[in-house]
Subunit: 210 residues, 2 copies
């Protein structure tokens, strides 16, 4: 998996890469995502628009690369409990996901991903895969501690927490505060425990992937 696609096969100039991404972040902070234009970015970064479009097919893809692509999930909190580890992780994601730039970008990115298979693949293979891996690690440790009766699909844990949170912030526009994040984690931890118990107590389903 290469870090970023290089269109046209030319050797990339990482100083130009960095300048484009840094300028994009600056302009999102200054003018907001909706008002952002590729012309502005090219002018301020001192590069041609062609240099940008060789790297990114659209404004949404460029903004995704500049603001979200390289983000790694926070390290495992290691609180010693499923609830504590999930709460720490989801609080960290909530801060990122509720940031003004993320709130502006996410709805545009959702519609762009729906019509741009290449961006969808990049979103799946990098951003989502890293998020789901963080949940896999938390579940694995809860199983190792004996806190969960068996494993649970990390994609389900991810969906119950970050899927819900994305809907709350970007679709339903609920006012999400820390009390709500805590309730979401309490509910999801109970839900994950119920799924683990059910798998464990029903041998016929124990080998199913989910």
């Amino acid at each position: 998996m290469t870090a970023r696609r290089q269109r046209g096969g030319r050797p990339r100039d990482s100083r130009v890469d960095d300048k484009i991404l840094r300028t994009t972040r600056e302009l999102i902070d200054e003018v907001g995502y909706p008002a952002l234009t590729v012309d502005q970015i090219a002018a301020r970064a001192g590069v041609g628009k062609a240099a940008i479009y060789r790297r990114y097919a659209s404004k949404a893809e460029l903004a995704f690369a500049a603001t979200m692509y390289d983000q790694q999930p926070p390290p495992l909190a290691g609180t010693g409990s499923l609830h504590g580890d999930l709460l720490s992780l989801v609080r960290a994601f909530h801060i990122r996901m509720a940031a003004p730039a993320a709130r502006q970008l996410a709805p545009a990115l959702i519609s762009e991903i729906a019509v741009n298979p290449e961006l969808e693949t990049r979103f799946q293979d990098t951003f989502l895969a890293a998020e789901q891996a963080a949940f896999a690690e938390i579940i694995e440790q809860a199983v190792a501690r004996g806190e969960l009766a068996g494993t649970v699909d990390p994609a389900m844990a991810h969906l119950l927490l970050l899927g819900s949170l994305a809907s709350a912030l970007y679709i339903i526009k609920l006012p999400v505060d820390d009390a709500m994040v805590t309730d979401l984690v309490t509910a999801a931890a109970a839900g994950i425990t119920a799924l683990a118990d059910r798998r464990h107590s029903d041998p016929a389903r124990a080998n199913e992937p989910r």
Copy 2:
């Protein structure tokens, strides 16, 4: 709350309304949402584009009105259990939400709502409010049966189930089958029960709204 906005204050012609909405549904089925144009709708419905734009500010808003706005949640299943009632409701929503037209429209609608406060209000006051009311009814009956120790914010139940499902279908693009819907309901029912128990066992929080 009026059924649909009437721009410009002229008395509306409900035959024109119906024709526009019916033609929109037909064309979404035939050509898909991305390829749909207001020109096509006007031509086939035999109305001017102005008649359409007096009623709807955008293609997304028109498609929302034609396909989602008037949908009512299915009636309460009355299975006698929280899990059964939730499963029946979420299965019905899954069929609607996973339909090809909904998959095409939803991502575009999410980005349109983010920049169109009037559409957001309409989406909140009609579509979402009806969905959340269906969860409120299920929770109320579970409390009345003594199955839940106390009430739980219906918006949280809605988020755990339909919020997750919307993310799975429209953002994360998970392959959602009936086994996954059932797992989601099992997890959410356990989560709702945990939230109800916590409220009930902690009098200091019993009067909090969530």
